[in-house]
Amino acid sequence: MTKALTNIPLFSRVRFRDAGTLVGLILIAIVFSALTPSFFTVQNIINILQQSSISACIAIGMTLVIISGGIDLSVGPVAALSATLGAAMMVAGVPVPLAVLGAIATGVACGFVNGALITWGGLQPFIVTLGGLSLYRALALIYTGGTPIFGLPTEFRALSNGTVLGLPGPVIVVALLALIAWIVLTKTPLGEYLMAVGGNPEAARVAGVPVTLTKLSAYMISGGLAAIASLILIGRLGAAEPTMGNLWELDAIAASAIGGASLMGGRGSIVGTLIGCVILGALRNGLTLLNVQAFYQLLATGIIIIVAMLIDRATSGK
């Protein structure tokens, strides 16, 4: 019996959960394909992926933070602040790579502030990032005076609007980021630390896990990914608006939860979160194709989240 058991790869439980999320996505895809012929076409699937890419980018960071036992409500405003600063730099003639780095650094810095207040300040993540939600939005609005920044350089926009092998640039960028995040979470000490710190912070500390650094990294990664998401978006829009990123945090939390992340910390999966994002994207896309009113789309999203949680409860409760 021991031989057979030991051959099972590590973390099999999480993978089992991912398979469940995937089944959910497949079911949704089957239903929409049956209802409208325009759903299951290459172009539409690329559409869905492109539309999900930005929320996926945010959700990856959110998943890491949630696994570490925290929450990051400030992602939308962090994105807005990074985007407006980055865009202003580009418009002012700063070379594109430098401006991109500047924007990402802004996001990481915001994440550092969140993390510092939570770890060294000993404040609750919900409250700190709720404060950040207003704070970073205010900074973006004050900096821009409320107006969008237009006139982004073409070479920057090419990144978001180009395609590689038929796949839109944003999809590829986010897929790469997801791959990196997946490796970090499942293959590196940091990933193990995130799970440990989220699962039981005191036990992790006793076991010698650098708890403070681990939490800080989670928030900094989340901030950095928010900045990257914002860069992808402004590349597509051609403008950076201080009001961008409204309610992104809720979409990201929803995707993480659908994907199996526990808001209590210690559990979550990058693959699951990605599928969660695509589920939400496919739902919106399919219902639009069917010409269903936005209110029902909201209804469907709510039902999906709750059903996912109920299935979770039923399968893990044993």
């Binding site: 961008m244 639009t288 194709l289």
Partner: protein, 349 residues
Amino acid sequence: MQHLLNTALASGALIFTIGAACAQDLTPLNSDSEPDRIDWSQLDATFGDLATPAQGTKVGGVSKTLTNEYWRTLGEGYKTFADAQSVGVVYQAASNEGDQLGQLSIAETLISQGFDALLFSPQTDANLIPALEKAAAAGVPVVNVNDAVIPTARHYVGNVQKDNGVRVAQWFIDNHPQGGKVAVIEGQAGVYAAGQRTAGFTQTITENGNFDIVASVPANWSRELAFNAAATILQQHPDLIGFYANNDGMALGVVEAVKSAGKQQQTAVFGTDGISDAYAAVRAGDLTGTVDSFPLLTGEVAMEVALRLIAGQELPRVVATPQALITKDTIDSYTTTDMDALRAVLTAQ
């Protein structure tokens, strides 16, 4: 803040857009001042009657949100006009006014469905730009309908936002020749319509010289925020003679504040948009007036413009839609379900 906003709105957007990356031959659109324009009432006279659209023509509409009566009525306008021409319509909206990416997803999904023309009412000036570009690439004409303005839009149908404020300012100048203190309740900071409406009111009333704008604060289109702001302003300036709110929802919030301060006789309240609640409030004497931009009619005009574009007509870039100041004195002439009669009244004003 006020100064910053105005400067930014008047010039900032323009300056920023000078180097517009899209390298289009179009100048960034300012729907209020674009010289290439025509009034809605001149369409028939200039371009002849609308030709009957081809069988199976369909037009897609994407608007902000259906929680707002304005956008629901606009959609009805699309549908009334399209039905009369036997044209198919799909009308979709995001779940709330803040959902920028959601609206973009909807717009992109519609493009892939092969519509002959699209009518966009974007959440912000920028959030539907990718959809606009995608439609352009697919050769589908897009009409930007009220009130956020996509700088690269080739066709725009909507009212002159600035004129909303101008009309209200004019009422104060006519009815309070001695002048007095007035206040403005603004919409969401950074939104084109809000900025233009405020600017129209502020500039007109300042030029007169007798009025004093004691406050101009944003209430983000929220009735509750408007109520709170108005209550504070009234407390500070008990001799205030009037409010101008950037939309009706906020104006109705202001009305409540004025009522609870017991200043209905002294303080006039104006809104913008002409929603049904506003009409009722004007009749009841609570709301002094509103600038109606006739969403049903606007919807019809927008649909007409779309159909003319499908038919291959070259139209001016901006088609201005009607608006009128509704007060207790004028309300009856605008309260009609007969669109032809309404068109006649508006053309005559």
